[in-house]
Subunit: 350 residues, 3 copies
């Protein structure tokens, strides 16, 4: 990070300074690990005690925060400390440029068309009739198959593999080891138990602003396209099967798997290690708890589910609370049976 | 796709034409997205309405299908529309050749022996004493370790890694990022809590016609071989541990894991995200529902199980139906206790 | 394996010979698959019968073992046959050297500093200001980002990717396709449902003697470090999120995921496909059964848990036993209700 003054950072964040506007900032650090010239942030109330002892030169806080003790650091008061700090980190991060120009150790087919200011790292391979926009970074060991189309300002980390005919939008980020466009898992049984492959002739379409985590795999459609809509964020080691469609701005945590042809709504939040079967539809704004198994469509917008098979999260929690007491319940039923029997036998009736 | 006539396609599929046999076909499309010169298929009854409005030139249907309205397309009637269409897509797909010859940007040890008509892409590395049959495609960024043996007509997608001493059969397909022959997870505790590695000196053997999905990992045996038998199909992101054996034509969905030394029968169907513990045996033709946990051997051929730990799928479903009502059950038991108590107190008896 | 005599192996293992000390050993094999000049081991009593028929020249057994029948092989008696054999396999394995020297087909930035006797394979890329100790093996297709520091005697298998600024200790083993230092999954919602990325400016620190399985992913910290402590062993396809810390000698099986900022104790044993939510703490020596979901901190050292959400393993098993009988329980409650009603109606009271 180059040197900034507290005043410059406050302008950047649209913040108000309480303290010394002339201090130099050249690094960021956690509030409890601060040192001279470092900038920290305070968003979580649990960390307030550190404010009174921090060695950071300046701390970004929410505008409604009022210290209850004396402080030695300068405060930068902003509307939302967490978001503002994210902005600072982004600037800080701009130093992490991978490289420039086209490596002489890359392989680029002569029919590929690459825009201005694109970086291509060593050992990357770009196939026939590939189109790439401007400004992107294609790190080392990236494979881009024939007829792939890629937008502007993408970030393809080392070892990304994009198979033939797929389409990648603008400002897409694919982390290391991501595979886009592997064959869908389609086999037709024939002659007893031998399977013959159903050719997978479609592609994958990834729209603008999508980010996909390390070693995640997205299969191409049998026909048509597997589609990841604008702004979707996928974590690491996720499996997206053929012909799936994921709606705008849906966020999915690590190791979740979505089976073939299922359609996920927009603005959904899906936890880690969730499994979603094939050929179902999930409504918009649905929330799915981690490790859930979704076996049927979810039709109500904003539903919140848990369990395998999943149902309403509140109901699931109540059932699970009883599940933990099942041995007691079992004993109670046994005792009820015994007592009732005793009662019946002690009575002259029936 | 090159140009075909409807007549040519009908011959290929052993089908009967109803309509214009001379029409040109040069692409395939979904029935609802058809256009002139495209071929579609109709296997799922839900899509029948599209037949009457499709713009496809020809549609492949089952031989017993009779349209209930007027149609403008030509029909090709076949025994099994789904399988026939798969055959057409296969032909269509034959255009997707990755490349030819041996890239000058590859690394091939001088002791490696490679058969005729093998493609080796840029940045692929082939080690000492490797043997490769004829006709295979080894795409870019593939690693083949020393002493590996590979059969004929294999397809190794970009970034496949086959570690030393493993054996790959004929017509095997390994998708991008697959790792074959990584070390098994074997550590012996010693000196308190420090672990020392148990060397993994075996290999992996993959028989003919196996297909393995993207980023799946198969560990080498501690001694002997981890074995994937003929015709097995594995989806993406699966973990197969050391010394596992998977029987012929077994199919396993994404993100399933099989722990060390377990032996899976032939013709099994295993869902996604299943976990199978080590040192057990699964009988032939067993079906395991998605997300199940298999903790003990399954000895009966054709058993169908679910749950974690898994038991009979029907029984599991019944238990789960009650699980969803557990809070009500809990209340009922409470009321029964109260009523019984009340009854007892209202009676003169003891 | 080069030729050894039984006498040499006995010295190596601190064992006592019963039989012919001069026999030649040049391979290792399972006791049931032995042949001349091979060495086997016998640790599991189930394999004792093979001892009397094995064709292995020598068998390593525990010092207290006494054969009950005549044997034709030579015995090497040691304190712990399993561990001793591991030692032999380790020696045997030392032949599996990947290569020597720096490949001319690699890419090494001129500012990188590499120690003595390091192997760098073809198509590996080493960035700016990288520091690497002595004696390591960096196989093919490895990516090492700018400013990465790596210790001595590491083993980086093909396709390992270490992103910028991460630190790797001595004798670390990273299997094929491992990704170290991918961005943490951090996004702040803003403007409705659009997410903006929280820059991930920290790194990953991997201490000495750590081994990490194929295609496992470890995200860099948002700030500070994601830390994998000394002696930790991670299996394949595991996901470790940003700012996680894993204590010394903890062992984790395949496909487990740990969400952001959680802190795992030392000497823990975590099964496969476990999910651990973010922002919690797991005490030392905790054992977590496969497929469990950990939703809250575990504060007691040595606790053993199961389930999703997990609780005590014994309690879980008891609850699960009742779960399997839930339909019967349901029927019993229904019958109790009916009988009680009948009883009440047959009585003159109320």
């Amino acid at each position: 990070m180059v040197n900034y003054t507290v005043a410059e950072i406050a302008i950047l964040l649209d913040g108000k300074i309480e303290g010394n506007a002339a201090l130099t900032i050249n690094k960021v650090s956690k509030i409890e690990e601060g040192s001279e010239n470092s900038l920290s942030f305070l968003a979580n109330p649990a960390y307030i005690p550190y404010l009174y002892t921090t060695k950071s030169s300046a701390v970004v806080v929410n505008s409604d925060f009022v210290p209850s003790q004396a402080i030695s650091c300068t405060l930068i008061k902003v509307k939302d400390a967490y978001q503002s700090f994210a902005r600072v980190l982004e600037i800080y991060n701009q130093n992490k440029i991978e490289g420039e120009g086209i490596s002489t150790q890359s392989h680029i087919d002569k029919t590929a068309v690459i825009g201005k200011n694109v970086y291509v790292g060593p050992f990357s391979s770009i196939g026939k009739n590939v189109l790439i926009g401007y400004g992107g970074k294609i790190c080392s060991h990236v494979y881009i198959g024939d007829h792939v189309e890629i937008g502007n300002d993408v970030m393809l980390y080392p070892g990304v593999k994009i198979m033939a005919n797929c389409k990648i939008g603008n400002k897409v980020v694919l982390h290391a080891g991501v595979v886009i466009g592997s064959d869908g898992f389609g086999f037709a049984p024939q002659n007893g138990n031998v399977y013959s492959k159903v050719p997978q002739t479609g592609n994958v379409v990834i729209e603008d602003f999508v980010e996909i985590g390390a070693n995640t795999t997205i299969d191409r459609a049998t026909m048509g396209s597997t589609i990841i809509r604008k702004g979707v964020k996928l974590d690491n080691l996720i499996q997206i099967a053929h012909n799936v469609e994921i709606g705008e701005n849906t966020v999915i945590a690590a190791q979740t798997g979505i089976a073939g042809t299922s359609k996920i709504g927009r603005d959904c939040m899906i936890g880690g290690q969730v499994g979603i079967v094939g050929h179902i539809t999930i409504a918009d704004k649905v929330k799915i708890a981690a490790q859930s198994g979704i076996m049927t469509s979810i039709v109500n917008e904003g539903e919140v589910v848990q369990g395998s098979p999943a149902f309403g999260k509140m109901s699931y929690s109540k059932s699970y609370a009883v599940y933990r007491k099942l041995p007691e319940l079992n004993t109670k039923i046994y005792q009820l049976e015994k007592e009732l029997e005793k009662l019946k036998q002690s009575l002259p009736i029936e």
